[in-house]
């Protein structure tokens, strides 16, 4: 399968990554190279093979549903690009 510019625009939107129009041909070329390489998988018959999510076929351990974290809001927000009164600031969402 190969991707056209409209497909890439859709993927870029889903990925939340802006792609400049001038970069589009290069992005398309490289993505199609990669997709051509991975397409060799399609020739393999995998009927009845159980997909493998975890190499040890393990399921994740659960812990008791109790609070273990302490409040570290100030420490954690020191890395925020913009924060005020304990809140993360973003451009206005609702007019």
């Amino acid at each position: 399968m190969s991707v056209e510019q409209t497909d890439i625009e859709k993927i870029a939107k889903l990925s939340r990554i802006r792609i400049a129009a001038s970069d589009m041909p290069e992005v398309a070329l490289r993505l199609n190279d990669i997709l051509a390489m991975v397409d060799t998988m399609q020739a393999v018959d995998t009927t009845g093979i159980e997909p493998m999510h975890n190499p040890l076929d393990a399921s994740q351990r659960l812990r008791a549903d109790i609070v273990t974290e302490t409040d570290q809001r100030e420490l954690l927000q020191q890395n925020a690009p913009a924060a005020e009164q304990g809140l993360f600031l973003v451009p206005k969402v609702i007019e």
């Binding site: 399968m1 991707v3 497909d7 890439i8 859709k10 993927i11 870029a12 889903l14 990925s15 939340r16 990554i17 802006r18 792609i19 400049a20 992005v27 490289r30 993505l31 190279d33 990669i34 997709l35 390489m37 991975v38 397409d39 060799t40 998988m41 399609q42 393999v44 995998t46 093979i49 159980e50 997909p51 493998m52 999510h53 975890n54 190499p55 040890l56 393990a58 994740q60 351990r61 659960l62 812990r63 570290q72 420490l75 954690l76 020191q78 890395n79 925020a80 690009p81 913009a82 993360f88 973003v90 451009p91 206005k92 969402v93």
Partner: protein, 483 residues
């Protein structure tokens, strides 16, 4: 002091031949003096290192003996280190000061180790050449026109250039073993789940695993004794007893059966590398092992399978970098959508963006079965190849890489060609097995690696086989000129 292994340094500290402060200062001086040639460190934490060294000296004088007390170590910049920049090689995290320590970092601190700083790496561990780092490429100490491999290229170069006695690395598709091979050092990727991933910035969560990069198998065993074990903070970490990895290092190899996958010696393998691997196998026969040809029929599918699974998991993991809570934010965003898309476009490099796009495509409606599910089915076929092989052999050996270190810039514009360099290492991650690379000779005057692959949780057997080889040969003691 910089020529000594960790095992030797521990003896030197014990006998008071030198103090940890002297040792640490010596390494800090070397980094200052030489790292301009290699670019192996992103951050050097001199003050903290000397404070840790002083504490270690004091503890030692009071008779306390933690496992690595006073030993300087470098950490790949993928591990969160409290109060220290943790960039993951990306502009996205150039301003990120980790608010907590990764479990691996905590364990080294408890073991008394001194942290010299954070090593360079491919951005978000995506790469095989260290050229995708926001902080510039790392240069291979054996030949500074060539790449050190990746993604743990800074760690490999730092150990090879003797700018750290050992370093931590992570391996998602070969990122410990391939740079270890290209830089002529020893590297071990443990079984998936053996070492905690908590605080290790996630790339592909079902493949990522941390491990040691050292000058010898004995040193790798010493580091594994610190790193391995169950961690309640990582729900995928294995609840399995940790052996003393140093206990069986010297065990005799008589009767060990080595499997040689015929698919690992086919077309595409550099002739001098093949020769060095065959010579290493001969050495193992001298040490009492028997050799058997085996087949891993789905080997060629490892590359396509990996390049769906790893990008798919990456596209989900890297969605957390949104320019809101931490990391890079673009200037003057018009609205929230603009903030997300521009922060991510400007904060991520080309290879990272490419993999996010591929992963998003593979997971998107209408393509999931053809790509992601298909890759997960093939992943099981690849694992089954190994499960069948280990019914007949104790250990699998072959080359770590098809070629020695390539030139800087040679493959950086052609991702698919770069991906094919990982053909022998990817399937080990897909299967979740432990794998190791040890120096085994030279091709075109560049170091080559012998890869050892073990059955699940048999790191001790790999270390034993590697140690016996290193007692009989001196490839691991070769060092680049100019140090």
């Amino acid at each position: 002091m910089h020529q000594l292994t960790i095992a030797e340094l521990l003896k030197g500290l014990d006998s008071k031949a030198f103090s940890s402060v002297e040792l640490t200062q010596h390494y800090l001086d070397r980094i200052k003096q030489l790292d301009g040639n290699y670019n192996s460190y992103i951050t050097v934490t001199a003050e903290q290192a000397l404070a840790q060294a002083q504490a270690a000296d004091q503890a030692r004088s009071q008779g306390e003996h933690a496992l690595l007390s006073g030993i300087p170590i470098a950490h790949k910049d993928i591990f969160c280190t409290s109060g220290v920049k943790t960039s993951c090689g990306s502009k996205m995290l150039d301003n990120f000061i980790a608010p907590y320590d990764a479990t691996v970092i905590e364990k080294f601190q408890q073991a008394g180790a001194v942290s010299l700083g954070k090593t360079n790496m491919d951005e978000f561990a995506m790469g095989s050449s260290n050229e995708s780092s926001f902080y510039g490429p790392v240069k291979n100490p054996w030949n500074t026109d060539t790449v050190p491999g990746g993604s743990s290229g800074g760690s490999a170069a730092a150990v090879a250039a003797q700018l750290a006695p050992a370093a931590t690395g992570t391996d998602t598709g070969g990122s410990i073993r391939q740079p270890a091979a290209l830089c002529g050092i020893t590297g071990l990727k443990p079984t998936y789940g053996r070492v905690s991933r908590f605080g290790m910035i996630a790339f592909a969560s079902s493949l990522d695993q941390a491990g040691p990069m050292t000058r010898s198998a004995e040193d790798a065993a010493l580091l594994m004794n610190v790193m391995a074990g169950l961690d309640e903070k990582d729900s995928t970490s294995a609840d399995k007893a940790v052996p003393d990895y140093c206990a069986d290092l010297n065990q005799d190899l008589t009767g060990m059966t080595i499997g040689l996958p015929k698919e690992y010696f086919g077309k595409g393998l550099n002739a001098e590398i093949e020769h060095s691997v065959q010579a290493a196998i001969k050495e193992y026969e001298n040490l009492g092992a028997t050799v058997k040809e085996i087949s891993l029929p789905h080997t060629e599918l490892a590359v396509p399978c990996y390049y769906i699974i790893a990008p798919s998991e990456a596209s989900a993991n890297l969605s957390r970098f949104d320019g809101v809570r931490y990391g890079y934010r673009c200037e003057d965003p018009e609205d929230l959508y603009d903030l997300y898309t521009r922060s991510r476009a400007e904060g991520f490099g080309d290879e990272v963006k490419r993999r996010i796009l591929v992963g998003t495509y593979a997971l998107s409606a209408g393509f999931y079965d053809a790509y992601y599910k298909k890759a997960q089915q093939i992943r099981r076929l690849i694992k089954n190849d190994f499960v069948n092989a280990f019914k007949e052999v104790d250990i699998i050996m072959g080359p770590t890489t098809p070629n020695p270190a390539f030139n800087l810039g040679e493959k950086s514009n052609d991702p698919v060609t770069m991906y094919l360099e990982d053909i022998y290492t990817l399937s080990v991650n897909l299967a979740g097995l432990p794998g190791m690379s040890i120096p085994a000779g030279f091709a075109d005057n560049k170091p080559t690696g012998l890869q050892l692959i073990g059955n699940y949780f048999e790191e001790a057997r790999l270390l034993n086989a590697a140690h016996r080889f290193q007692l009989a040969t001196d490839w691991h003691q070769q060092t680049p000129s100019g140090l």
